[in-house]
Symmetry: C2
Subunit: 209 residues, 2 copies
């Protein structure tokens, strides 16, 4: 399986690196990092650099494409070069996937029309602009499309994808290899579970984004 992992300036790095860590550990799977131009991109905070090993023009087909989210999606939602690359690669994929607000990029490319989808909880409703039905959930499969919730959800989604392709044993072995036995010190990872004042705080901090 050849996986095209999109990297771009302003991305949230865990969106990409969570699934990357899962997929790079699957025997026979090869992840290619792809960015508009070959070379370094900087993350949302600008304090982390990641290398795009391949330019769009060099990777026009893949078994899986994975689109991360982050503030940098905003200009890209009007970037025809990116959107056309997504459409082109999507025509070749077995699975088209996103993490967090990456689903808005899939939507902007016209790839979520009529589909059930998810994304970061703060940006779920925006999926309707692209004809998608926002349904929430940790990850949502509709046809060959799998969208994941915010940032950390890509790890869960990638394990699910491995199990869909190769069965539960391989997915469990990868999970054990990365010791993914999550134990967050708080149970505040979704707006349904976090205290109301924390939800309001996060909404306030990200308003206008």
């Amino acid at each position: 399986m050849k996986i095209a992992l999109l990297l771009y300036d302003g991305m949230a790095p865990l969106d990409a690196i969570g699934p990357y860590e899962v997929m790079r550990n699957v025997p026979g799977w090869e992840v290619l990092t792809v960015s508009q131009e070959k070379g370094e991109v900087r993350d949302e905070a600008r304090t982390l650099g990641l290398t795009g090993d391949h330019a769009f023009a060099d990777v026009t087909a893949a078994d899986v494409v994975l689109v991360p989210g982050g503030d940098g999606k905003r200009p890209l939602m009007q970037d025809e070069e990116l959107l056309e690359w997504l459409r082109e690669v999507d025509r070749t994929t077995k699975w088209t996937t996103s993490v967090c607000t990456g689903s808005l990029l899939l939507g902007a490319a016209g790839l979520l029309e009529g589909k059930r989808a998810t994304g970061h909880w703060l940006y779920l409703e925006q999926l309707r602009e692209f004809g998608a039905e926002p349904v929430g959930g940790r990850y949502v499969e509709d046809g060959k499309t799998i969208t994941a919730a915010g940032v950390s959800a890509g790890i869960d989604m990638a394990l699910y994808l491995v199990s869909r392709e190769l069965g539960p044993e391989v997915a469990q072995a990868v999970q054990l290899g990365i010791e993914y036995d999550p134990s967050p010190p708080f149970d505040a990872g979704s707006p349904k579970k976090a205290p109301t004042e924390i939800v309001d705080l996060v909404k306030a901090v990200t308003s206008g984004e």
Copy 2:
């Protein structure tokens, strides 16, 4: 808070990027990526490039140092330049931390002598070689040292560190921001939970590492 995040060739990227995603979202915290030489390092699979923005010589003090694991730790456990950098930075830190087999690097630097510690489940016992007491657990705090279990455990550890510094509200807000409400499709992330044949498979694949 200034955080020095060690990057090196052969690291497991999620070890670093999990905690990075948590810490870069904390107001007032600044993460500096540090590598032996300034420039790109390649991960364990060699299919991902990450940029070390600063060389060892440029960052000799930090409030937090974070040491990831990965196959690349092996040569580094005898690399005096790295070990001396770790000792030097540790003299200045409020918190000295590791993820996965990063604890073996802390151990090789002499920084775990007499301490309770953890690391990847496959490499726990090796901590004894450095005078540490391997105790397992998702993350272990002993004095100013916090070691985390394998790969994905750095996310949990980083949220804990944020709560130790700034209280539960800030940690919960960051957790909600990255929607860390984990829901892996299987419950196989620790050797105590995974089926025996999966544990044996992962041991066989990594034997001799």
